[in-house]
C-alpha cells in the first residue's frame, strides 16, 4: 500500500443534468450531429470493431434542403415515399385520436409516439414477412404502417371492450400480433430484447431465414436485460437488430441519466463486439437504409447490429405524465433534427412528387379512416361503459389446461 497522498480536493458526486429545464432553453449541441451524406456505408460483413466511427457519428440522408444525399440514400421510388408518408400520417392521426379518447375516459391509458413516427414505419417497410419485432409500448408504427392490421381491433384493445383481442387482460397499447410479426408488448422494460435474441438464435438453430428486431428506449438500456441481449447476440452471432430509440427522455429523466453523457448508446454495441450505427431517427430515408443494411447483414449470417435512432419524444411520456414539469415547453420545436413528417414532405415536394394540397388530402383521408375505425370500435363498448370480457376470462390461459385450483377459485367467484 501507498501512504495517503497529499491533500487534494475532496471527492464529489456527479449527477448529470440536461442543458434545458422549464424556463431555460436547451442547448442541443450535446447531440453531436454530422452533416447529411457525410458518413461511409460499410459492406454488410463489416467487422464490428471497425464500426466505431459510425457509432459516434450520425448517419443522415436528408439534408436541410430536403435533398437525399450520400452513400446511405436508399434511392426508393415515389410510390414508396407515398406509402411511407401515409404510414407516418396514419400513425400520427391514430395517436391524436386516442389521446382524446383517453381524456374522454374511453380508454384508461394511452402512449403516443409523436415525433418518432419515421422509425417504426420505415423500419417496418424494410422487414420481410416472417421477421419478428419485439417492440416496446411506443412502436405502434410497426402495426399502423401495415394496412393489414385492422385499426378497429387495435382500438378494441385500447378500449378493453368485448372485442379486445387481449380479452381485457392487458393495459391499453400492450398489443400482440404474431401473424403480423409483432411480439406481445411487456410492461416490464427491456425484458423483450433478450427474448428477441433467443428468437433469433432459434431461427439460426432451425436454419431458417427470419430475423428478429428488438426495440428498447434510451432509458431502458440501463436495465440488465439490455446487457444480456448484447452478450448473447454477440456470442452466438444471432440474426437480430437491436434498436435503441434514443428520444432523449425516460419519463422525467434525461438520456444522460441512462448513460448517454460523453458516449453514445451505439458505442455500447461496439464494445460488446456488435456492429453499431447511430442514425438520424427523424430521417425516413436514413431509417429505411440503415434498417435494410442491418437486416441484410443479419440474414447473411454476419450477425447482429445495434442501431441507435436519435429522435425526440415530442409528447408526454404517457397520459399520466406532464413534461412541462421537467423540460422546456418549446423543446420539441427546437430539436435540431426536426419533425419526421415535415422532413419527408419537404423531400417529396423538392422531388416534385408531392404538394401541400396532396399532403392535406392524405391527412384528411387517414383521419377519416381513424375516425371510422373508432366509431366501429366504440360500438363494441369501452372500459368505462363496462362492455368488457367476462370475469371468467381471468382464469383462462394461465396454464395451457386449467388446473384444479383455478377451477375451484373460478367456482368460488360464482362462475364455475
Amino acid at each position: 500500500m501507498t501512504a495517503a497522498s497529499p491533500a487534494r480536493e475532496p471527492l464529489r458526486l456527479h449527477v448529470p443534468e440536461p442543458t434545458g429545464r422549464p424556463g431555460c432553453e436547451t442547448d442541443f449541441s450535446y447531440l453531436h450531429l454530422s452533416a447529411a451524406g457525410s458518413k461511409r456505408k460499410p459492406p454488410i460483413n463489416e467487422v464490428p470493431a471497425k464500426t466505431i466511427d459510425l457509432a459516434f457519428a450520425l448517419i443522415r440522408v436528408l439534408d436541410d434542403t430536403g435533398q437525399a444525399v450520400g452513400p446511405w440514400d436508399p434511392k426508393v421510388d415515389a410510390a414508396f415515399l407515398k406509402r411511407g408518408m401515409r404510414a407516418m400520417l396514419k400513425t400520427r392521426a391514430f395517436d391524436a385520436r386516442m389521446l382524446v379518447a383517453q381524456r374522454q375516459k374511453k380508454t384508461s391509458f394511452y402512449m403516443q409516439c409523436l415525433g418518432e413516427e419515421a422509425i417504426a414505419t420505415a423500419h417496418w417497410m424494410a422487414l420481410t414477412p416472417g421477421d419478428m419485432c419485439f417492440p416496446t409500448y411506443r412502436q405502434q408504427g410497426l402495426l399502423l404502417a401495415n394496412d393489414e392490421v385492422p385499426m378497429v381491433e387495435m382500438m378494441c384493445q385500447l378500449f378493453s371492450n368485448r372485442r379486445d383481442p387481449m380479452k381485457g387482460r392487458q393495459l391499453p397499447v400492450m398489443y400482440s400480433y404474431k401473424k403480423h410479426g409483432f411480439f406481445s408488448v411487456s410492461g416490464n422494460l427491456a425484458t423483450q430484447v433478450i427474448q428477441a435474441v433467443g428468437w433469433a438464435m432459434a431461427s439460426a438453430i432451425k436454419n431458417d431465414t427470419k430475423v428478429a428486431s428488438a426495440w428498447i428506449g434510451d432509458g431502458a438500456t440501463a436495465e440488465s436485460d439490455f446487457h444480456t441481449a448484447l452478450t448473447f447476440a454477440h456470442v452466438y452471432r444471432a440474426p437480430v437488430i437491436i434498436n435503441v430509440v434514443n428520444n432523449q427522455w425516460a419519463i422525467s429523466t434525461f438520456q444522460a441519466i441512462a448513460g448517454g453523457e460523453g458516449t453514445t448508446f451505439a458505442a455500447r454495441g461496439v464494445g460488446c463486439g456488435i456492429a453499431s450505427l447511430r442514425v438520424d431517427g427523424n430521417d425516413f430515408l436514413a431509417v429505411y437504409a440503415a434498417s435494410k443494411w442491418a437486416l441484410e447483414r443479419a440474414r447473411s449470417n454476419h450477425g447482429p447490429t445495434l442501431i441507435e435512432w436519435v429522435t425526440y419524444r415530442a409528447g408526454a411520456h404517457s397520459t399520466s405524465d406532464d413534461p412541462t414539469k421537467y423540460r422546456p415547453d418549446n423543446d420539441a420545436a427546437r430539436f435540431p433534427l426536426g419533425d419526421p413528417v415535415a422532413r419527408l414532405k419537404q423531400h417529396m415536394v423538392a422531388l416534385g412528387i408531392w404538394s401541400d394540397a396532396e399532403h392535406e388530402a392524405l391527412k384528411k383521408q387517414v383521419e377519416g379512416e381513424v375516425a371510422a375505425a373508432q366509431k366501429e370500435a366504440e360500438s363494441h363498448g369501452t372500459l368505462a361503459d363496462g362492455h368488457v370480457h367476462p370475469a371468467s376470462e381471468m382464469f383462462e390461459d394461465v396454464y395451457k389446461d386449467m388446473p384444479a385450483h383455478l377451477k375451484r377459485q373460478r367456482a368460488e367467484l360464482g362462475i364455475g
Binding site: 464529489r12 458526486l13 449527477v15 429545464r21 384508461s108 391509458f109 378493453s160 379486445d164 380479452k167 381485457g168 387482460r169 392487458q170 393495459l171 400492450m174 411487456s186 410492461g187 416490464n188 422494460l189 432509458g219 431502458a220 440501463a222 436495465e223 440488465s224 436485460d225 425516460a250 419519463i251 422525467s252 429523466t253 441519466i257 441512462a258 448513460g259 399520466s320 414539469k325 421537467y326 372500459l383 368488457v388 370480457h389 367476462p390 370475469a391 376470462e393 381471468m394 382464469f395 394461465v398 385450483h405 383455478l406 377459485q409 367467484l413
Partner: protein, 345 residues
C-alpha cells in the same frame, strides 16, 4: 418524543406523510440519501419526493438509471460504506430485476460477514391494485420477501402509520422492504370503486405530527375490536375488511399487521384465542401468499381454540387483469361471505 403524542399536527395524505418522513430523516441524519427513477428533479411519479432535491441538494436526493438491480446493488454498497440509503422502486411490479441483490446480498451481508459489513437500507415501493394498472402496476409481492431471512417487510395503511413506520424503517439497521398501497395514497379506499373517493382529510389517521416520531416495528394494531371472528389484514384490505364487517353485521376484530415480517404474533394469537375464528385477507394471489404463513401460524398457535376452518380471501391465482379488476380485487362482499361462513363453521 417517539410517539409524536404532543406534537403539532397537520392534515396529510399518505404521500405527504411519506414525504414528511423522508424530509425529517434527511434533516436529522446526513447519512440518509434518496434515489430512484424520477425521484430527483421531478419528485417521483407519485410525487413522494417532490421538493426534496431542491431542499437537500443533488448529492442527497437524485435520479437514477432505470435499473432496479443497480439501484438496490448501489444502495447495498452505500450501506456498507455507512450511509442509510432510501430507494424508490417505481412500482413493486418492477422489483424483480433487483431481487438477487435483495435475497443474495442485502439480506445476508450482516450474517455472512459476521457484522463486518451491514446494509441499513429502506426500499420503498408502491404496491397493490385498484387503479386499473393492469398486471404491471398492481402486484402485491410481499410473500416473496417474507421468505427471505434477514430483511423486514412493512406496509402502512394510513398517513400517521406511514410516516411513523417509514422513520422507524430508515432508522432500523436491517434492510427493509417498505410497501406502499398506492390505492391508499389519497384516501382510505374500502373496495367500493363506484362510490366517491373519501380523502384522508376526513379520516383521523390523516392527522399527522409535523416532526419526528416513530411507529414501532413488529407491532400490529387492532383497528376494530370485536368478539366473533379475528380478521388479519394489512394495507388496503384493512378498509375492505372494515366495510365487510359493517355490511355483514359480523362483530369482527380487525387487526392491521403493519409489520408483515417479522410480525407481532402475540396480538394475533391473543385475538384468535378470544374469537376462535379467523379470516385472513390480502390482495396478493392466494397460493403461497402470505396468508398461507398466517394460516400456518394461527393453526400452530391456536389449534385448540379454533372453532371453524380459517378462511382466506385473496386475489386469484392469475396475473392481475386490467378490465376485470373488480372481479379480481377482494371486495367487501367477498370478505363478508367469508366472515359469515366462518361463523357457521
Amino acid at each position: 418524543m417517539p410517539d409524536g403524542g404532543n406534537m403539532k399536527t397537520t392534515q396529510m395524505t399518505m404521500i405527504q406523510a411519506l414525504r414528511s418522513a423522508m424530509d425529517v430523516m434527511l434533516e436529522r441524519d446526513n447519512n440518509v440519501v434518496l434515489f430512484g427513477q424520477d425521484v430527483g428533479y421531478f419528485g417521483g411519479v407519485f410525487r413522494c419526493t417532490e421538493g426534496l432535491q431542491k431542499k437537500y441538494g443533488k448529492s442527497r436526493v437524485f435520479d437514477s438509471p432505470i435499473s432496479e438491480g443497480g439501484i438496490i446493488g448501489a444502495a447495498v454498497g452505500m450501506g456498507a460504506y455507512g450511509l442509510r440509503p432510501v430507494v424508490e422502486i417505481q412500482f413493486a411490479d418492477y422489483v424483480y430485476p433487483g431481487i438477487d441483490q435483495i435475497v443474495s446480498e442485502a439480506a445476508r451481508l450482516r450474517f455472512r460477514s459476521v457484522n463486518d459489513f451491514t446494509c441499513p437500507m429502506t426500499m420503498r415501493m408502491p404496491c397493490g391494485g385498484g387503479i386499473y394498472g393492469g398486471q404491471t402496476h398492481s402486484q402485491s409481492p410481499e410473500a416473496m420477501f417474507t421468505q427471505v431471512c434477514g430483511i423486514r417487510t412493512v406496509m402502512p395503511s394510513n398517513p400517521y402509520d406511514a410516516k411513523g413506520l417509514l422513520i422507524a424503517c430508515i432508522e432500523n439497521d436491517d434492510p427493509v422492504i417498505f410497501l406502499e398501497p398506492k390505492r391508499l395514497y389519497n384516501g382510505p379506499f374500502d373496495g367500493h370503486h363506484d362510490k366517491p373517493v373519501v380523502p384522508w382529510s376526513k379520516h383521523p389517521k390523516g392527522e399527522v405530527p409535523e416532526g419526528y416520531y416513530t411507529v414501532p416495528l413488529e407491532s400490529a394494531a387492532i383497528v376494530r375490536p370485536g368478539s366473533e371472528v379475528t380478521v388479519i389484514a394489512y394495507g388496503t384490505m384493512v378498509y375492505v375488511s372494515q366495510a365487510a364487517a359493517e355490511e355483514s353485521g359480523v362483530d369482527a376484530e380487525i387487526i392491521d399487521l403493519r409489520s408483515i415480517w417479522p410480525l407481532d404474533l402475540d396480538t394475533l394469537v391473543e385475538s384468535v384465542k378470544k374469537t376462535g375464528r379467523c379470516v385472513i385477507v390480502h390482495e396478493a394471489t392466494r397460493t403461497s401468499g402470505f396468508g398461507a404463513e398466517l394460516m400456518a401460524l394461527v393453526q400452530e398457535n391456536c389449534f385448540y381454540h379454533l372453532e371453524a376452518p380459517i378462511e382466506r380471501v385473496t386475489g386469484w391465482d392469475t396475473p392481475y387483469p386490467h378490465a376485470q379488476e373488480w372481479d379480481y380485487f377482494p371486495v367487501p362482499a367477498r370478505v363478508a361471505t367469508a366472515l359469515k361462513k366462518t361463523l357457521q363453521g
